[in-house]
Each structure stands twice: as C-alpha cells, then as structure tokens.
Symmetry: C2
Subunit: 316 residues, 2 copies
C-alpha cells in the first residue's frame, strides 16, 4: 500500500524557506532531502536552540538568524510555526519576499491563517495555504522524518482568484512527499478538522486533565492501570501545548459548534446510563462500530493496532 519516496528528476523549487523547525518543519526538510523537491532548504526558527539543533542535524543547506534573511531568495516559503505566530512572521518577511514567490503554511486551522497572512503579503506574491493532516505526539527538530506525509492528506485552501500555477506547484510539492492533495475552502476545512482533530484532542486533554486533578493515591493508580483505554487518550494529550493553544484560539467558532454537539450527545448518554437504558446504549455502541469499519475500509487506514504508524517510522 505504501511505497518509498522516489527522487524527482529535478527540483520543483530552487530555494525553499522553512520558518519554524518543529515536527512538521523538520519532516519537510527530511522529505526535501529524500526527494530533491527543493534545490536548497533555508531554515529559520525564532528559538535559537532549535535552529542550532537543526544545523547540527544537517536538516538544511542554510540557517538564517532572521525571517527576512531566510526568505530573501526563497521561491517557496512555508510557515511551520504555531498558528499564533503567523501575523508577526508575515509582517517581518513581507518586505524581503521575492516577486513571484509562493507563500504557504502547514497550520491546522485555515480561516484565521487566511485572514492573518493574506492581507499582509505584498502584491505579486502567491498565497497557497496548506494543511498536511499528519503528525505524531512528538515535537521539535528531532521529531521529524521523511515519510510523515506519505499516504496522508494535505489540504490546500487557495483564495479565489489566485494563480492556478502556484496551486499546481504546491500540489506537486506535497505529492512528491507521498501526500494525497485535496482542495477546499478554509471554512469547510475548519469545520471538518474541528470534529476529526480539534475536538478529539480537546476531549483527550480534558480526560487526562481530569485524571491529573484526582486525589494523589487515585492518580498513581490511574497511571498504573492506564492500559484499559486511558492510555490511548494520553497520546493525543501529549501533543505540543503551544500549537494546540493556537489551534483552539484560532478555530474557536467551529470547535465551539462541534463541542456543543459533543456535550449534547454526552448528556443524552449520561441520561441513558442513569436510567439504565441498556437498549439505547447497545444501539449507540453498535452504530459507532460501523464508523470504525468505514474508516478501516477507506484504505488509508488500517485495522492494525498502531494504525500503520510503526510502518511509517520504521521507514525513516
């Protein structure tokens, strides 16, 4: 089902600048090296330690101390910092961008990114927002690996009236990493991701937070006996705090909408338990099984207990 990433005959972009070198930024750097999608990769991170670590790992060809320096020669700039930093980064890079450069990002929310970044870009620069739907619970320059995006979705939300060729080039870039590229509006993206990603993370954070607030003696037992289901939640709840704070602050409306539906259903479920409505519980638990089956059947998923994650990482 999966296949190795193959080198391209020639680079898609002469120079790619990565602003931020966490899990996603470092994975893009690895994927560029593996495929040759970029002639050279220039890396900037406002965290000097992360930048030094990226250099020690040899993730790029150049390491820039400022955003402006990083983007000066770039044909493609990818914002890989937490979403909340985008406005400031865009402000800093706008005067330094080449005419005809493409600016993209990897943010998990898109409406807010479009609103923050788009109006701050100079004319003659193409904006193609992107969201690779891939990740692990690890973060930082050491967390990346070349195959993170393979067989994962990458959603583009280009503004109407944008340059089709710029969209095409960004699509080809992600396709080179093995991603399946989809195009949708930022609003639709944010609604779909609210239920597939943001609310599941919120619920996991909340479950683990509830355990963290237990009496000491009970909490240590929760850790001890976590294999019964709790442990699965802790993986999501170990994700990068800054990134997720920014996701919730920047996709507030869609998250609130989906969280509202979630709590409505939870109240109904709670009522079924209180009233001892076994039939209602059985019905719900049967319906949810069908969704799982549909996900496994859709091919990019697997029934294997690690969802194919092990295979990905083995391939690094």
């Amino acid at each position: 089902m999966t296949q190795a990433l193959s080198p391209l005959p020639e680079p898609l972009f002469a120079t790619v600048a990565l602003i931020g070198v966490g899990l996603i930024g470092s994975s893009i750097a690895h994927a560029c090296a593996r495929t040759g999608a970029a002639g050279r990769v220039v890396i900037h991170d406002r965290d000097a330690a992360a930048l030094a670590r990226a250099e020690a790992l040899g993730l790029g060809q150049a390491y820039a101390g400022s955003v402006a320096e990083a983007v000066r020669e770039a044909d493609l700039v990818i914002l890989c910092a937490p979403v909340g930093a985008n406005a400031e980064i865009t402000q800093a890079m706008a005067p330094a961008l080449k005419a005809g450069a493409i600016v993209s990002d990897v943010g998990s929310v898109k409406t807010a990114v479009v609103a923050e970044v788009g109006p701050r870009l100079p004319q003659g620069v193409h904006f193609v927002p992107a969201h690779p739907v891939a990740g692990t619970e690890n973060s930082g320059p050491d967390a990346g690996f070349a195959t993170l995006f393979r067989n994962r979705w990458c959603i583009l939300t280009p503004p109407p009236g944008g340059e089709p060729q710029a969209v095409e080039k960004v699509r080809a870039f992600w396709a080179a990493f093995g991603a399946n590229v989809e195009i949708m509006t930022p609003e639709h993206h944010d609604l779909v991701l609210a239920i597939t990603s943001h609310v599941p993370h919120l619920v996991a954070y909340n479950l683990v937070g509830t355990a963290a607030d237990l009496e000491d003696s009970l909490r240590s037992e929760v850790i001890k006996f976590s294999a019964g289901g709790f442990r699965d939640s802790t993986r999501l709840a170990a994700s990068d705090p800054t990134m997720w704070r920014d996701v919730f602050l920047n996709n507030r409306e869609a998250v609130m909408e989906m969280l509202g539906r979630f709590t409505e259903e939870l109240t109904a479920l709670q009522r079924m338990i209180r009233r001892g409505d076994g039939e209602g519980l059985f019905d719900l638990f049967t319906r949810t099984r069908a969704i799982r089956r549909a996900i496994v059947e859709q091919g990019q998923e697997t029934a294997a207990p690690d969802f194919g994650r092990r295979a990905q990482e083995d391939a690094v």
Copy 2:
C-alpha cells in the same frame, strides 16, 4: 521486557471450564494450551455458532451444550460472558459445581459481579473474582491470542474471609499467562477502572456517535480525514457493544462520579476557549503532557506508537 510464555511443569487445574468464548475466553484457552496451566479446557457458549467456531478452532478439549454440563468436572470455572449474564449463568451452574471448585470471572466491573454471583454460589465453592486489564477492539472466538495477558495487570477482588489457597491458585494461573496480579477491594477497582477505562470508552463512543449524527456530506469527510486524531477514538468505540452496555449498567455509580468530574472540567475548558484564555489552555496542555510521560516511564507502557500492541500480536 516481554518474554515468551513458558510451559509449566504440571497443570495448575485438572479441568478448567470457560463460560463464554469471546476475546477473553478464547485468549485464556490459547494461553492454557501454550502454558499447560489446565489439564483440559471445557468450553460452553450460549451462542451455538460461537461454540461451533471454538470447536472448529480446536480451542478446548471438550465443548458443552449447557452451563451445568460444562462445569460438572471443573476445578476452576471462569465466567467469560458479558457481565449482565452472570446471575443467570450462576443460577444454572450452582447445582452442578463440584465441592471445592473455584469460581472466577473476567468482568470489567467487580462490585456488581460480587453482588450477583457470590450469594448464588453453594457452600464449599470458592469465589475469586478477577479482571484481566487487557483487550483489543476485536471480539469473538477468532479474536483471542495466547499473549493477550502478558505484562498486563490482572486484578483480583476476593471477598474477605475467603480461602487464601484459592486466591493463591488463581494468582498462579494468571501469573502463568505473564500477567501481573494485584489484589484490591471491588469498590476501589470500580472507581479506578471508571476513570482508566470506562469513561475513556464512553467518551470515545460519544465522539464517534457525534460524528455519526452529522449531515451525510460532513460525515463522509470525517471518515476521510480521520487521521488527525478522530481515528484513535474509533478504535475504542469499536469494542463489543454487549460487553460495554453491561459495564455501564453495572458500574453506574463510579462512572457517573468520574463522568461528572469530566464534564465539569470540560465546561471549564470550553469557557477558556470562548474567552480566549491562552494561558489557561497552555497550562492544562502542559500538565497533561506530564501524565503521559509518567505512563511511559512506568515501564509496562511504551512510547512506541502502537503501545506495544504490535509486538503482542506478532508473538501469537
């Protein structure tokens, strides 16, 4: 860390009867065959198809058409049916039990089991309730494997004043399967499991149920883009509906208590998002990370993306 299951020098029980041959029952049968912990295994299931399948798979040495027939010669009887069936099963087997036989179970709730089963057992029979904290999202006689219990906890909740030797024999039985055996009261068990297992499952069922109720067009996209976090929940929400209905009906009080804490926290979290309280969100998301770290450090867990599940199944 894990090690192969080794054959015992001699059986711990001459005859073991398994009442119910789902994931846990069939895994016990495999583990008995692998370790020789039982001289012979007699299997009954009220579902004739499951019983026939167990026979086709060669899971036991005898297959009984009734509970009474199954337990007649048993030195150890293990109730492996959904918890809600225990009262009826106990009623049916009580007159047929050998004097000195040990009755145990594998139920995920213990207070209710103790109340349902204990008083229905004849004098001279020893009751040692057990809960192996292990499972997968699969069910039925085909789902079992010998190493399911290896490096997992098995919690015993023996009634006060019971026969210490009976407890010791049940402990040795589970230890032979590689389980780490703990003893606690049924009440404490139910509270710990409510937060480590029952509420996480409830939340996962609810999340997937919320998605199931979405408009058709949105729902198909949720399935498509499930890799962003939702997919992890669907694994828990694919667990056996009958088993989980019975868990919630039989551990109502502890589940309600923990669910109450969960919804309180969720309301506070929702308020943080609505008010844009980035600092509060960041703090929570940092605290939850520490819990994950503690779980990984506790040794029976792993940082690997499949929580060691792959290794378990490979070993079958």
